[in-house]
């Protein structure tokens, strides 16, 4: 594999609908974790809620836009149900309960007795035809600079990134508002916020729901890209990757999730390409490094780079602010 194609592959990955979807998810998480300091490890759940909402509505004959709305509502309700009991809990317990709720949702979705509705382990397919019917680009591939993109992908890409921009601007608007000030105050010093008459419980619940809805959009884009929603693609790994993105971008800033998502998929594809060409080389020279080991090494790199970011750029690649939780790791 030559270097030029590696570059173009990486660039494509960086602007792909998937990257956009992860950006949306990261925006939602950023509101909860970056701005309000709530460690919600269950965003895979709200993403799934959004995705399944979309798929079920469309497959039961509803129009695509209605599916999107229902998805939003589903995720909102899910987040509300998670938030009401949990936001009172301490940070670490919040993390554990949210991760649990997300897994519960996944297990229910994939279970065989839910199959009539959710398609069980096979999930649901072909619910975005009406969306792709609007595709103005056709199936031919287009070249944007060095990057070649199939028209079909391009169409979703366009829509997805427009969504990202809209959501980002919307979030920017509310974060700069008095409401947003309260949210940040909750992260920095909840008692102070209460002392100044802010109903922090309500605000936290609102944050959870709003963030959940953003992630619902993420889920919808993600599954529209492949016209397939599968329960196992909403496991804890997804949540962790989105965290990685927020951290890389630098929590607590509007652009950071977008930067993080682009960066993440760029690096992932780049490492993948380089490793694969390495594997090809090694295949010629005695196969010290097989194609079948590329995947593993790539995830080693992801993990390690995640650690390195925390250690050396704790504010993310673009200096943002990590939430100051009152409880610090005991320094000695």
């Amino acid at each position: 594999m030559d270097f030029a194609s590696i570059i173009s592959d990486s660039l494509r990955a960086a602007i792909s609908p998937t990257a956009a979807a992860y950006a949306l998810g990261a925006i939602g998480l950023n509101l909860q974790f970056g701005y309000a300091g709530l460690i919600n490890l269950g965003i895979a759940g709200s993403m799934a809620a959004g995705a399944y909402g979309l798929a079920m509505v469309v497959l039961s004959g509803g129009p695509f836009w209605a599916g999107l709305l229902v998805g939003l509502v589903c995720a909102g309700v899910f987040s509300l149900l998670v938030a009401l009991p949990t936001v009172r809990l301490r940070a670490d317990y919040l993390a554990m309960t949210t991760i649990a709720t997300a897994e519960i949702l996944r297990l229910v979705l994939r279970s065989s007795w839910a199959r009539p509705v959710t398609g069980g382990v096979n999930g649901l397919q072909r619910f975005a035809d009406s969306f792709y019917a609007l595709n103005p680009f056709g199936v031919t591939s287009y070249a944007i600079g060095p990057v070649i993109i199939p028209g079909r992908t391009l169409w979703l890409m366009l829509v997805a990134w427009i969504l990202v921009v809209i959501v980002a601007i919307g979030l920017w608007a509310i974060v700069k508002s008095p409401w947003g000030r309260t949210v940040i105050a909750i992260r920095e010093d909840e008692d102070l916020a209460r002392a100044l008459g802010k109903n922090t419980f309500n605000v936290k619940v609102q944050v959870m729901v709003l963030g959940g809805m953003c992630t619902a959009l993420a889920g919808s884009v993600l599954v529209t890209d492949q016209q397939n929603v599968n329960p196992d693609s909403f496991g804890t790994a997804l949540t962790f990757v989105v965290y990685a993105i927020v951290i890389m971008g630098g929590a607590g800033r509007i652009v950071s999730p977008i930067v993080g998502a682009v960066l993440f998929w760029l690096l992932l594809a780049l490492s993948d390409g380089i490793l694969r060409s390495l594997a090809d080389l090694s295949a010629l020279s005695g196969g010290w490094f097989g194609q079948d080991q590329v995947g593993a090494v790539r995830y080693v790199l992801v993990g390690v780079s995640l650690i390195l970011v925390i250690v050396f750029r704790p504010q993310g690649f673009f200096a943002g602010r990590l939430p100051h939780l009152r409880k610090k790791v005991t320094a000695s």
Binding site: I174, S177, P178, E188, D189, L192, A193, L196, G197, N199
Partner: protein, 548 residues
């Protein structure tokens, strides 16, 4: 103490209709110790009421309860007729009663202006439905911003409006807190030590602002240790000790109240049942004439929790072998910080700390403890989930054969012997004190650092604590002791330092300081002079009124 209350039944002086905050009864218990145990108290409307009392009197706890940050075991209190018991903090704040915190709190990373705007109450933009639509709240925001700037201007913070709140000095933080409280258009403000850590120049400002507010009809309740301020500012004073109200009335009345002075300086009577002490003093002050390299030498250190806001600035002190040295002074003078600096719990900026001539500034905390320093913090001084015995063994950690050491210590604290098996968490305050002290003594330190061993203890427990300290001193350990209860403390120590603003203001032999009028003034401000000279007093009053 009940007796003192009976002598002047002050509770009823304020008529019900003039009462802004009406406490019927509040009781709060923390495990062993009673933090607050109050009967009826009435805080007058439109007046400046000071809440005073020594450490551990329960002032801050009362604040927390009244403002909904802590739940009392039982009690009821009302603000302007609305019952507040069981109400949430933000609800109480919205009723128009805004509090500040003892440790200044602000949203770092946001500008001073944003900090102000946060406080504006009932903003349209607070509701998510309107927040995202800027026009719906921009006018209001403009008004708030205007008001915020106006307030900042009044508090001399106008030029700081756009800077990160974290960059403010301690004093400016206090100003911001008051300004922010006002931003919420409160009917009453509760200030927790509004003058702590404020330099004299700013202090005058704050005090003036408060009087102005009072004259504008604001109800103000404030906790304060600076007695000059209390006497100068307040129209009404409530004095608490050990969670109870011990006196109430005009500043003069309270200042003249013996029980108040006792509460601060320690009770005379309780001194009597310990005769050996003065003897000991004379005897040891005799042999302390022998020039010895001091066990501890603190040379011009600056230290604090925040590098650019040092609490100690250029403090010098020494403790010689077998000496008991008292460190006294008003709150925020840096007494505890001094001990923490020696123990290694706060970063020392400049200067040096020598133990037996060796610098320990670079040494890790636990190593200092193993090399002859024992430290007894004021609060959280035991491991609650460990038994008393285990607590003691922790003192000997890293030392060989510490069982006989523990046995030795237990002989000094016989009453701990039957408690060895009980978890320290369930002990009373006094018992915890002795457990902590015993633990610190297990490794046979040459120097023992005691942080207010009598704080929050009942008079009986207090004198007991001092007795043990005396015994410890007998055993030849040098002691550096920080105390509120200056009388007892000075009575038993060879020398004393009086701190002010992180420096040594006075020093001398324990006896000499005991009799030194200036000490009392440093504690209780110009009370005595005030009482002596009513004329000057009234002048001061009038001058204050002319200022507004």
């Amino acid at each position: 103490m009940t007796t003192t209350l009976d002598q002047n039944p002050l509770g009823q002086k304020i008529a019900l209709e003039d009462t802004a905050l009406h406490i019927n009864r509040i009781h709060r218990q923390y495990g062993g110790l009673t933090a607050v145990d109050l009967d009826e108290i009435r805080i007058p409307r439109g007046k400046l009421t000071a809440l005073i009392g020594p450490n551990g009197a329960g002032k801050s706890t009362l604040f927390n309860i009244v403002t909904g940050f802590d739940k009392p075991d039982d009690g009821s209190w009302a603000f302007e007729g609305t019952n507040l018991a069981g109400k949430q903090a933000h609800t109480i704040a919205r009723l128009g009663m805004i509090r500040t915190f003892q440790m200044t709190r602000l949203i770092s990373g946001q500008t001073v202006l944003e900090n102000m705007l946060l406080a504006a109450s009932r903003q349209r933009g607070d509701s998510l439905t309107r927040a995202w639509w800027h026009p719906s709240w921009k006018n209001e925001e403009a008004e708030n911003t205007e008001r915020a700037r106006e307030l900042l201007g009044r508090f001399k913070l106008a030029d700081k409006a756009e800077t990160d709140a974290a960059s403010l000095s301690g004093g400016q933080r206090r100003l911001l807190e008051v300004a922010r409280a006002l931003m919420a258009r409160p009917r009453a403000i509760l200030l927790d030590e509004p003058l702590a850590g404020v330099n004299p120049a700013l202090r005058e400002q704050v005090m003036q602002h408060l009087t102005e507010l009072r004259d504008a009809g604001m109800t103000i309740l404030f906790v304060e240790h600076d007695m000059d301020a209390v006497m100068g500012l307040s129209d009404h004073v409530v004095c608490m000790a050990l969670g109870k109200r011990i006196a109430e009335g005009t500043p003069q009345e309270v200042a003249s109240n013996e029980s108040v002075i006792d509460a601060y300086l320690g009770v005379h009577t309780s001194g009597n049942h310990r005769s050996p002490m003065p003897l000991a003093v004379t005897s040891r002050s005799a042999n302390s004439k022998v020039p010895t390299e001091p066990v501890l030498r603190v040379s011009s250190i600056t230290a604090g929790y925040h590098p650019d806001r040092p609490i100690l600035n250029g403090l010098d002190a020494t403790v010689s072998a077998g000496e008991v040295v008292a460190v006294i002074g008003a709150n925020g003078a840096g007494k505890s910080t001094l001990l923490k600096a020696v123990a290694g719990l706060v970063a020392v900026g400049s200067g040096d700390i020598l133990v037996e001539g060796k610098s320990i500034v670079k040494q890790e905390v636990h190593l200092r403890m193993r090399n002859g320093i024992g430290y007894v913090p004021q609060s959280n001084n035991v491991f609650p989930s460990l038994t008393v015995m285990e607590n003691l063994r922790m003192g000997g950690f890293g030392h060989r054969r510490h069982d006989d050491a523990i046995a030795r210590v237990l002989d000094m604290f016989p009453h701990l012997k039957e408690l060895l098996g009980t978890p320290a968490g369930s002990l009373s305050g006094g018992q915890r004190q002795s457990v902590a002290m015993a633990r610190a003594l297990v490794p046979r330190p040459q120097l023992l650092l005691l942080d207010e061993p009598s704080a929050g203890l009942s008079p009986m427990a207090q004198s007991a604590a001092f007795a043990t300290v005396a015994d410890v001193a007998e055993s030849g350990v040098s002691i550096l002791i920080v105390e509120q209860n200056a009388r007892e403390c000075l009575a038993m120590s060879h020398r004393g330092y009086v701190l002010e603003q992180g420096k040594v203001a006075l020093s001398g032999s324990g006896q000499s300081l005991l009799t030194d009028e200036r000490v009392i003034e440093l504690y209780l401000g110009a009370m005595k002079t005030k009482r002596a000279n009513q004329l000057m007093e009234s002048e001061k009053e009038s001058s204050e009124h002319t200022t507004d």
